[in-house]
């Protein structure tokens, strides 16, 4: 890891330099409601400085909605008929600038499930993440309950920490170092800088409530006793079974596959699906293993907090709080976590 110091103007130049070989995206203010979302940017001034996360997680860059798996034509009898053409996206590399540590972590977590998925991995390959640490905790943040940190570096190539006048840039990977070099104008950070960053990190972490070893505790619990816990019924009763939580969740990655054909030219796409939707599990026969709302609500949380940790280790949640903010009926994953862990 290399640590640099860069001024606000220097950062702006970084972005401008990067746009020569990368598509650069950053959080941009979308409307008067203070909503920010990802958009292509050409300079620092376009980027929102609002605290917290963007409306949508960065999974849109890794699991685009939709993603073409391959294309084909279906002209009977013609030579190219039914020949499938692979469409692994090898577009321009891109930089996501201003990624919050929680979001960055989601790329790594999802990668555990997508290890063998060439499309996802190609997107990982071509996407560089420049993160920004969080100094201010939002009411719905809980990254420190699920193994994250406001200064977390997991998944990032560079972490930016805003100091009084400047930024400290931790280049976390080789790609991060080369980005810094491509940006130019950075000085190596001094010991003083490092110390300041460290104290900021501690201050920020301490300001946040934390729940250590969540994943480990959850892994250690009995699957079926969690599955049969009492609270699922009451919890699910208010759910309306929409997909707002899953679609805005950085670590919900379920998808469906479908063919689309227009005038004999077709493509097979995958697109987001949600285990909240009743048809998600419905068999062609009409039989539905999770036909009840309570089963679906339970599956969403059990997948994140039990099945995923059992399979891969960490919980499949980064604590960004989007699901809490955006749930139309205020289902709050923090309450579920507390219930599962048996803490107040």
């Amino acid at each position: 890891m290399k640590v640099y110091k860069i001024s606000r103007e220097g950062l702006d130049k970084w972005i401008k330099h990067w746009t020569e070989s990368y598509d650069v995206f950053g959080p941009v203010e979308k409307n008067e409601n203070g909503m920010t979302d990802w958009a292509e940017v050409k300079g620092l001034d376009e980027i929102s400085t609002a605290p917290g996360t963007t409306k949508q997680p960065i999974k849109t860059f890794y699991l685009p909605q939709p993603e073409t798996l391959f294309t084909f034509t279906s002209r009977g009898g013609e030579p190219d008929s039914d020949v499938l053409k692979e469409t692994l996206d090898e577009g321009r590399p891109r930089v996501l600038f201003g990624v919050r540590p929680c979001d960055a972590r989601s790329v790594t977590l999802n990668g555990l499930a997508y290890e063998e998925d060439p499309y996802y991995m190609a997107n990982v390959e071509r996407t560089l993440l420049v993160g920004v640490s969080c100094r201010e905790q939002c009411g719905t943040c809980f990254c420190r309950w699920v193994g994250g940190s406001p200064f977390g570096t997991e998944g990032l190539d560079i972490l930016l920490i805003e100091t009084e006048q400047n930024f400290v840039a931790e280049a976390l990977t080789d790609r991060g170092v080369s980005l810094v070099e491509a940006g130019g104008g950075a000085r190596e950070a001094s010991g003083e800088d490092l110390a300041m960053v460290e104290s900021m990190r501690q201050e920020a972490e301490q300001a946040m409530s934390a729940m250590p070893d969540t994943a480990e505790t959850l892994r250690s619990k009995d699957l079926m006793s969690m599955y049969n816990a009492d609270f699922w019924g009451g919890l699910s009763e208010s759910c309306i079974n929409c997909g707002a939580c899953t679609f805005l969740c950085p670590t919900c990655y379920c998808f469906d596959i479908q063919d689309e054909v227009v005038r004999k030219k077709g493509r097979r796409i995958r697109y987001w699906d949600s285990c909240m939707f009743p048809l998600f599990t419905q068999h062609a026969s009409g039989h539905n293993p999770r036909g009840q709302k309570v089963q679906r609500v339970r599956n969403r949380f059990m997948h994140k907090l039990k099945y995923f940790p059992d399979r891969f280790g960490p919980v499949s949640c980064v604590g960004c709080g989007r699901c809490i903010r955006e749930c139309p009926v205020n289902i709050d994953i923090r309450e579920v976590l507390r219930d599962l862990l048996g803490v107040e």
Binding site: L84, E90, P118, Q258, D259
Partner: protein, 286 residues
């Protein structure tokens, strides 16, 4: 980039092109047909290897994919067999296709029956109902081809009517053999039927051999499985000896997309074959 090129070759979402070599209408209602498919590229044919009990995605460009159990045994060399029930968009389109048409095959997927490990040396009871016999046909043929590896083989297979039995010609042939014990039954008395009459669970209760050094492979509608267990349990069978094949909705087939999970397991990747003991530890979401 060179690395990603290599990944392309292993792209698990790309079906292998295949051609329909033969179509057999299996049942009297015409809703079940067996398709014999030949992979078109020699290298695909060469690389292909599957275990009985595995499935594959049959893919029709423009229609989609559908997981179908592989009905042919790895020991059969003239293509892959899939017995398909006409139920939805893909199967409906497949049923309207003719010999020579192009399809795609993605697989083999899933785990299959442990024919080369746990099953070896054991007495085998195959219990099947309706059109769930497909992968068990593959299993049976595999075992018949490696007959010495297994003990007694008993097959209990039932359908609603004689006309709804799959692989009727083969059933007759197997019935003639002395190294496999066939019990083919239909639900109700029908003119011209001289074989067994009665539901599979009942017949299983009557003819199932002792559980000693034996395993049972059961495929069929959930209600059949439910009623088959008590008579087996009565004569001492345990859940560890019974293998089932689950049929959850599957999309990616490789344990990512999330559709087929049953608690922590992905039926497509960790299954579809489980022992009943394993299944009993899972939430009832299948």
């Amino acid at each position: 980039m060179a690395e990603s090129k290599k990944e392309q070759i292993n792209n698990p979402y790309m079906p292998f092109p295949a051609r329909i070599e033969d179509i057999i209408v299996e049942t009297e209602d015409g809703n079940l047909k067996t398709f014999r498919l030949m992979l078109e590229r020699p290298e695909d044919r060469e690389n292909w290897s599957h275990v009985p009990g595995q499935f594959a995605m049959l893919s029709l460009a423009g229609r989609g994919e559908i997981p179908i159990g592989i009905a042919s045994s790895p020991t059969e060399k003239d293509g892959l067999l899939f017995t398909v029930n006409k139920a939805g968009v893909v199967t409906g389109a497949l049923h309207s296709m003719e010999v020579g048409a192009s399809v795609g095959v993605r697989g083999p997927l899933g785990n299959g029956f442990p024919v080369d490990s746990e099953l070896k040396g054991k007495n085998i009871v195959i219990i099947a109902g309706g059109f769930a016999f497909t992968t068990l046909r593959a299993t049976l043929l595999y075992m018949l081809a490696n007959r010495r590896d297994y003990g007694r083989i008993t097959v209990i297979y039932g359908a609603r009517t004689p006309g709804m039995l799959l692989y009727r010609k083969e059933l007759e042939e197997w019935q003639k053999r002395d190294d496999v014990e066939m019990h083919v039954t239909i639900d109700r008395e029908t003119q011209g039927w001289t074989g067994l009459v009665g539901f599979v669970p009942t017949v299983a209760g009557q003819v199932a051999p002792s559980p000693e050094n034996a395993v049972a492979l059961i495929c069929g509608p959930p209600v059949m499985i439910k009623f088959t267990m008590p008579p087996l349990e009565k004569i001492g069978w345990t859940d560890e000896q019974v293998y089932l094949s689950l049929e959850n909705r599957m999309k990616c087939g490789i344990g990512i997309c999330g559709h087929c999970n049953c608690g922590p397991v992905y039926v497509c990747k960790d299954g579809p074959v489980f022992t009943r003991a394993e299944v009993m530890k899972l939430p009832v979401e299948f």
